[in-house]
Each structure stands twice: as structure tokens, then as C-alpha cells.
């Protein structure tokens, strides 16, 4: 299966800008389906970005993060060609990991 994580990490001098888009329903548990039954909560709880063995950004998410979440941040360091490891885990224990090259 194709990765649920799409990442663009671009280095500009001393900082690396990271944009990530993840495919996930992020169901809040407050929405009902067409039959009037509540869709149980299903959302990413933690998303981690690692560079050079160290986490550079950790997102803890609740149900109020939009479907197919997007996040953008920057960190100092990181050179072109370096690996950036991204992984998430959701409230049902599912997870995904990918590694992106810094451009």
C-alpha cells in the first residue's frame, strides 16, 4: 500500500522547512453516519519527525485536527540529501512510517 504520509522537506541555508500531509479520516466520534449511527473516534494521536536520530518535532493530536491533516514547521540543521523519518500512531494502534530526503 502506498504510504499515507506525503512530506516535502526543503533545506534553505541553515533551516529546513517541513510540510507534511497525511491521509487519515480523523473521525472525532461526534459525527453520525447516514444511518444515524455514531462513527467511532479514529484519529492520529502522535506524529513524530526525526532527523539524525533525534526528534525535531512531535505533534500530539486530538480529534479536532482536520481530516487528512497538514502540518508545517521548520528546524535548524538538516542538509540536502539527509533523511527525515516521519511516523504516526492512531488511537486504534495503527501506524505508518516513511523516510523522506531533504531537498
Amino acid at each position: 500500500m502506498a504510504s499515507t504520509i506525503r512530506v516535502r522537506a526543503t533545506s534553505s541555508g541553515d533551516t529546513t522547512e517541513v510540510q507534511a500531509l497525511i491521509q487519515h479520516p480523523m473521525d472525532s466520534g461526534f459525527v453520525k453516519d447516514a444511518k444515524g449511527e455514531i462513527i467511532p473516534p479514529h484519529f492520529i494521536q502522535q506524529l513524530t519527525f526525526e532527523h539524525d536520530g533525534k526528534s525535531v518535532f512531535v505533534a500530539n493530536w486530538g480529534t479536532a485536527v482536520s481530516k487528512d491533516p497538514y502540518v508545517k514547521f521548520s528546524f535548524k540543521g538538516g542538509n540536502k540529501g539527509d533523511d527525515l523519518k516521519i511516523s504516526w500512531v492512531d488511537n486504534k494502534g495503527a501506524s505508518d512510517t516513511t523516510t523522506a530526503k531533504i531537498l
Partner: protein
């Protein structure tokens, strides 16, 4: 944070903490700033904080202290969001030693929406997209140098993000 599995050391520490507490109580009004930000400094998912209903309870559960408004926290959110399911919200700050950034939506069923850990070397700026049930204040909390700073913006929502 260190964890010792040595029973003796742990007991000793407890006794010392007890003594410290007695001293604190004895002195009376000592500000609560002494308590470290346990949850935010931890790598664990702050499950309890996300379950709190109101923003004050969520902040207390997450950081164990209260925030003061600061003009050094720049919260960028639309004045009117046409679609509450996707509200772009971003934050930048000129504060130094930022360790975490959190976003709360007052009127959501659970106020805390997202909390980000900012390790040293990471720029204290985040952009993300949040759901909003209805028109509400969006509160951003920045933890810097062990203190909490906040910024608040009202976002008018024309279509809520929780309806089916």
C-alpha cells in the same frame, strides 16, 4: 526526568520532597511556578488533557499552570471560516526557549486540539488545520522558559465542522 528503581533512593527522595513541601506550606504563598511542566516535557501522549471539556481544565491538565496573554505570540487565524471542518491556523512567536505550542478551541466538545513539542533547534512556528464546531475563540499557548504565554483570536464559523 530521572527514574530510579532503587527503593532506598526513591524513599529518600520522597522524604526530601515531603520536607520541601512542609517548608513551602510553612512559608505560605509561594507561587506554583515551582512545579515543573510534567506533561508537556514528557514524550507520552497527554490523553487526559485531550479529554478535558473546557480550555482552562485542558491547560491545567497539560501544563499544570495558567498562561498569561503575550503580544509576542502571534496567532494567525481567519476572521471568518466558511468551513469549520478545515480552519487553517498558524502561530509564530519571538519568545526564546520555546518548548511546546498548543492550540485550543473553546467551544469544541474537547477544547484541546493539538499540542506540539518543540525541541531545541526547532523554529517556534507551526501551521496546521483544525476543526471548529462553531464560532469560538481559538487559544494558542506557548511554553517558553518554563512559563506559559497565550494569544486568543475569535474565528466566526458559518458551517460547523461537527455536523454530518
Amino acid at each position: 526526568m530521572t527514574i530510579t528503581d532503587n527503593g532506598f533512593t526513591a524513599t529518600r527522595r520522597l522524604v526530601l520532597q515531603g520536607a520541601g513541601l512542609v517548608i513551602l506550606v510553612g512559608l505560605g504563598n509561594i507561587p506554583l511556578g515551582v512545579a515543573p511542566a510534567l506533561a508537556a516535557a514528557n514524550d507520552k501522549y497527554p490523553e487526559d488533557a485531550f479529554k478535558q471539556k473546557g480550555e482552562a481544565d485542558a491547560i491545567k491538565s497539560l501544563y499544570g499552570k495558567t498562561a498569561e496573554p503575550s503580544d509576542k505570540v502571534k496567532l494567525d487565524a481567519p476572521e471568518i471560516a466558511e468551513n469549520g471542518a478545515v480552519v487553517p491556523i498558524s502561530l509564530t512567536t519571538t519568545l526564546a526557549d520555546v518548548t511546546s505550542i498548543s492550540f485550543l478551541v473553546s467551544e469544541n466538545p474537547n477544547a484541546l486540539a493539538a499540542s506540539y513539542q518543540i525541541p531545541p533547534g526547532t523554529v517556534p512556528a507551526v501551521a496546521n488545520r483544525l476543526k471548529m464546531a462553531k464560532t469560538s475563540n481559538v487559544i494558542a499557548i506557548v511554553e517558553a522558559g518554563g512559563k506559559l504565554y497565550s494569544a486568543t483570536r475569535e474565528v466566526k464559523v458559518t458551517v460547523g465542522g461537527c455536523g454530518g
